[in-house]
């Protein structure tokens, strides 16, 4: 490649709001159920039906806007976006174009930071943390579409309107990002805000958070933006990374071979790791937006904004500050635990129950993070309850089980929130607290391993580790390693 190119990226992020009902009707937003069982005349576009706005949608949108430093549009309206597609029963989507509820915001992102796993693996910060503002052009409210199910047997597709009318906010960024790393940092930041607000669970895989990537390339130093494409169907951070790399390369190839990039919408195919254009003569992409006459404008007063502000939860910075003073745990722990609201909530709840902040934090930072990574899960997917984590910590504290056993129990608990007390009981995992019996094993081990005993006596303190291991093995792991260590020392020093 002769020239150097810069990637310019903007995102359109759709977030499904956690309301109980749809945006314009009283149908439930609950997942599941047979097709069309959560529908009514409004969300199936029956003639004569009319939309009425769910107030909670406005409040969630405002809350996200305030958290992302947006201006709230005091007089906002809904518009119709007209296009024919069967997942959209009216063949227009009620959205906002001319007067979206939030405008001109930003979020701060940090890149160059080591990931949690890198830190766990012992790497240290390189000192090249970059901070940057990503502008938010607007946030608007709109309705989600239904689902098309491709019928395996017939030569047809089936339309299910259960998701039709589920409220969305679309967060449109400025084209301020330059790399996949920045994109991910931005998405993680957005997700953190939205989750902290309780406005959505923001699961990429399940589609409650969806990111469309607008990408163009230009020669480094150029002021002018290149022609951008819009990439859809990205449902994991990995596919976002791949799609960005792939589209960057595709556009550079076109430019290098003297071609021009066409402004179009492309669909990312994760299995093939490539994208294709979604063009058809019949999709004119001329949405003929106009103000929806069925809905009246929304006026947002100072009082209302203040009310929404006041009901905002404690965000991460305040939370981090409070953890420091209230729990006295290290900064590193605080940063990890507060990375998601879910882990922060578990931390606070479990600590309240067992009174051991550092131990709760350890479980969350080490075993929880390890299992999440291993199982490719989100913190949102955690199922174990804070109460069970507190119980597990208590079991160790009371020496009912040792740490190794606790790790085994935790793995089971992590799977399906098993009650650790019952599990330990039912599986005979209680540790041997009879010092007499352990002492017997220790004496036996000392007798069987004269070489190690000699090493220890010769000043090799470490040799005791081998002996402890042997005792633990014979006790089938049910002894407390601390007790074993102490007993061995006593016996060896006596001899």
């Amino acid at each position: 490649m002769s020239k150097e190119y810069e990637t310019v990226i903007g995102l359109e992020v759709h977030v499904e709001l956690a309301t109980k009902t749809k945006i314009f009707c009283g149908c439930s937003t609950a997942f599941g159920g047979a097709p069309n069982t959560h529908t009514c005349p409004v969300c199936t576009g029956m003639p004569g039906s009319l939309p009425v706005l769910n107030k909670q949608v406005v409040e969630y949108a405002m809350a996200v806007g305030l958290a992302t430093n947006c201006e709230i549009t005091r007089h906002c309206k809904f518009d119709r976006k007209n296009y024919f597609y069967p997942d959209n029963p009216q063949n227009y989507q009620i959205s906002q174009l001319y007067l979206p509820i939030c405008r001109n915001g930003y979020v701060e992102i940090e890149t160059g930071k080591l990931s949690v796993n890198e830190k766990n693996a012992g790497k240290t910060e390189s000192g090249e943390v970059k901070r940057k503002r990503v502008g938010i052009h607007e946030i608007h409210m709109e309705e989600d579409a239904g689902k098309l199910i491709h019928d395996e047997w017939g030569d047809c597709s089936l339309v299910d309107y259960n998701r039709s009318g589920v409220p969305l906010i679309e967060i449109v960024s400025e084209p301020d990002m330059r790399s996949a790393e920045e994109v991910i940092a931005y998405l993680e930041k957005l997700r953190m805000f939205v989750q902290y607000l309780g406005a959505s669970d923001c699961k990429l895989e399940e589609g409650s958070m969806r990111a469309d990537v607008n990408l163009s390339v230009r020669e480094v130093g150029s002021e002018k933006f290149g022609t951008r494409t819009e990439m859809k169907n990205l449902n994991s951070f990995t596919s976002i990374q791949h799609a960005i790399a792939g589209e960057r390369e595709r556009q550079i190839d076109i430019l290098e071979s003297g071609g021009t990039v066409i402004q179009e919408t492309r669909r990312w195919d994760d299995t093939k790791s490539e994208s294709y254009a979604m063009r058809s003569k019949e999709d004119a992409q001329d949405y003929r937006y106009f103000p929806d006459p069925d809905l009246i404008p929304i006026d947002i007063s100072d009082e209302w904004i203040e009310k929404v502000k006041a009901s905002a939860p404690e965000f991460r910075p305040e939370k981090m500050e409070r953890y420091k003073t209230e729990y006295g745990i290290p900064d590193y722990d605080i940063e990890l635990i507060t990375a998601t609201k879910k882990t922060a909530d578990i931390f606070e709840e479990a600590t309240k129950l067992c009174g051991q902040p550092k131990k709760v934090s350890n479980w969350l930072m080490v075993e929880t993070m390890r299992l999440l990574k291993e199982k490719n899960m989100d913190a949102e997917d955690i199922v174990f309850s804070p109460a069970h984590l507190a119980d597990l910590i208590n079991l160790v504290d009371k020496k009912v089980i040792n740490n190794n056993t606790a790790k085994q129990v935790f793995e089971v608990m992590f799977e399906n929130d098993t009650d650790p007390v019952k599990y330990v009981e039912e599986n005979g995992l209680k540790q041997e607290n009879d010092t007499g019996a352990i002492k017997g094993i220790c004496e036996q081990v000392i007798a069987d391993n004269p070489a190690s005993v000699a090493d220890y006596k010769g000043g090799k303190q470490k040799a005791i580790g081998f002996l402890v291991g042997q005792v633990m093995k014979q006790a089938k792991g049910k002894a407390d390693p601390g007790t074993v260590n102490q007993l061995l020392k006593e016996l060896l020093d006596q001899a």
Partner: protein
Amino acid sequence: MANVISDETIEYVGILSKLKLNEEQKEQAKKDLAQMLDYIDELGEVDTEGVEPMTHIHPEVNCFREDVVTNGDDHEAILKNAPEEKDSAFVVPRTFD
């Protein structure tokens, strides 16, 4: 007639409107549309400098519902009118999104 509607335009309007027109209908539509546009062009005579477009007649704002589930499962009634139905869903020609 000041406005002339081209073949491409009427083709495009057909796509936007999702209407299939035969040649004769296309010619008629071109004429009708041009005539109406000539007429609408008269609005240009009105000085609307500084006038706010009026989308809503009344000054009313803020009509909301509370976030409470009021609808149950009505899928049988909803599907009753469907030209084609399968597995409690509406049937459409095979589509790839």
